[in-house]
Symmetry: C2
Subunit: 404 residues, 2 copies
Amino acid sequence: MTNVRENIYEPFTEQSVLVYLEQKGLITDRREVTCQEVGDGNLNYVFIVKDLQTDKSLVVKQALPYAKVVGESWPLSLDRARIERQALQEAAKRVPELVPQVFDYDDDYAVTVMEDLSDHVILRKGLLDGNIYPNIAADIGTYLAENLFHASDEALGPVEKKKLARQFVNPDLCDITEKLVFTDPYYNAESNSYPDNLQESVESLWHDDRLIFEVAKLKKQFLTEGETLLHGDLHTGSVFVTETSTKVIDPEFAFYGPAGFDIGAFIANLTLNYIAQQERADDSRRHEISAYLLETIEQTWAVFEERYRTLLLEKGFDDRQRTEQYADYVIHKIWQDTLGFAGCKTIRRIIGLAHVEDIDGIENAAGRLQAQQRAIETGRSLIFNRSVWRSPKSLTAYLKGLEK
Amino acid sequence: MTNVRENIYEPFTEQSVLVYLEQKGLITDRREVTCQEVGDGNLNYVFIVKDLQTDKSLVVKQALPYAKVVGESWPLSLDRARIERQALQEAAKRVPELVPQVFDYDDDYAVTVMEDLSDHVILRKGLLDGNIYPNIAADIGTYLAENLFHASDEALGPVEKKKLARQFVNPDLCDITEKLVFTDPYYNAESNSYPDNLQESVESLWHDDRLIFEVAKLKKQFLTEGETLLHGDLHTGSVFVTETSTKVIDPEFAFYGPAGFDIGAFIANLTLNYIAQQERADDSRRHEISAYLLETIEQTWAVFEERYRTLLLEKGFDDRQRTEQYADYVIHKIWQDTLGFAGCKTIRRIIGLAHVEDIDGIENAAGRLQAQQRAIETGRSLIFNRSVWRSPKSLTAYLKGLEK
């Protein structure tokens, strides 16, 4: 593990980043480029640097030593820049077409220089604009299967897996997830954030001891089950898309955890979009959009499952892992975990800190409240039914029942 | 993590270790001490150094860069000396009376200088001599509860736990366990070792697909569930005893794994001793010894369970963990895992590399074969019944049925 030398690190400005890039030989003349900081500044700076003569561009992402996610600043290890960069490099070994290319990095400055994806849009935004991306299920299903398999004990064998896992111990960022996903939404925590008219629904959740116990079990799994290298924050805001291209970005929450966590995060965010679309979509397009989202949930899992099974049966590290019985067992565990984590991820976006625009942006107040309540109930159902729903059809049938 | 600087390291001799101790100020005059190497030389040197004038003594344990456990030598990281020493130091924070005191260490030489326990005997040997140690259950139950709890997420919180876990990534030694406990006994592996007349029993095990699948699940748990800091090799050869003192030694296999693994290892070795005693003990004492061993199995778990529950309810990191319902859940999982791992640990000592003197030392050939077959069957029962047997009474009732 490389640790940032704090005495070298300093946050760049739009000027100083160009001096740095020139010194590194990544641009030839800083007077011939434009530079713009486009990050939201909560956790990182993101500079887009464009060569005026060649029209080529690149992105410089620099971690900041704090997060502005709880009103005041929350100190965060700069080492997460290394983790994010190494996670991108791991993914590039399996699915180079599905992640931004890393051109250079510097752990002392907590900096990664990578491909500029300004021609892409964030999937969440694209979905909210009513767009349909036909490749998403196949691309994300493939991304999940390739990455979740190839970092596991079953792919690497236990020795190499432990050596890789040691590089992805990520206490600070896991702590954010542990608090915001598994802890705070389930009691009257200061970090929570929800409208007054949701108070009754929220309190009923806080008194649901059966639910809270199930969430405690899922939290224990998140804390202890180091199955594989996760992206760690795979919502629809971590996916860049065009009509023909999908890129998974921002794996700074990467760590060794339960495989179902990433799939659950993605499915939860499609679910939230589906629930929101019942209020947002034009009447003329609601049915089409709803059908697309349900199809995407089903197909993401189907592509994941088929690819994962094939990889395990073909490349499983030991004989006993290359059997249909073992593959069924592992995949069924991942499926149950996917549902449980999807439930937690759905609920946190309504009650906890950091909401999603899908729901919060519903203009009609009654519709918004309806969507919020439905999201909470859907989360609850995902958690309770995780050992009952045998396939994505169960989830999509449930969601179909919410269609306007 | 400190890594040994290989250019400094060299294996000590009975002479050079004294020069080293003198330089370190741990002895005053090397001409006034005796020094004897007493290790079995398979993995480590163990020097006992005694001051002739004060009669005080100490032990110098030095890791060797290989293990002679598979006929030829198996390269092993010297970093395990640091892991063993830090595991002893962690245990000393909770139960200083149950571990040897560490006086000094030097990671460059892979050396730990510690309390000499020559007045103790190895528990396995003591039990084979027909001795009864009334404190063992309380001491080991306490050792297990205090250590397994205090290194867990529930005690440390997720951030501190991850920081501690990072220090105990132990690929080389875990690999030995993975191979010898979970893999090799279940197929015709070169490392296996069993007498010809056991061939039929062993082959029936290799064809027991249901058993092999259960073992694959337990192996997956061993590989992925980083619940707490384990001793990692807690058999009766890792416990030093006198009438009144218990010391747990040799935690070089320490790593973050499932809590039930340590308890299972200890119970498996009591079980093997129990099975062996049916053939070994004098008729006049067999009943007494059998009753003592069953009582020790039951009480070890009872002491562990009560202490662990109390610690969790009093010190659990978050509110949701300090509930009877969560405690029941966690303890029940540990219990199931204990049985499963005990089963694997029992079988490997009959079929795999590295047997136990308890069984191998039975002089009567028919009795030895009987004990070997019973041990295999008991292991199988432990694995299959791990979600059925609700308390140690189920196991001891089963064992009682094997009494002569």
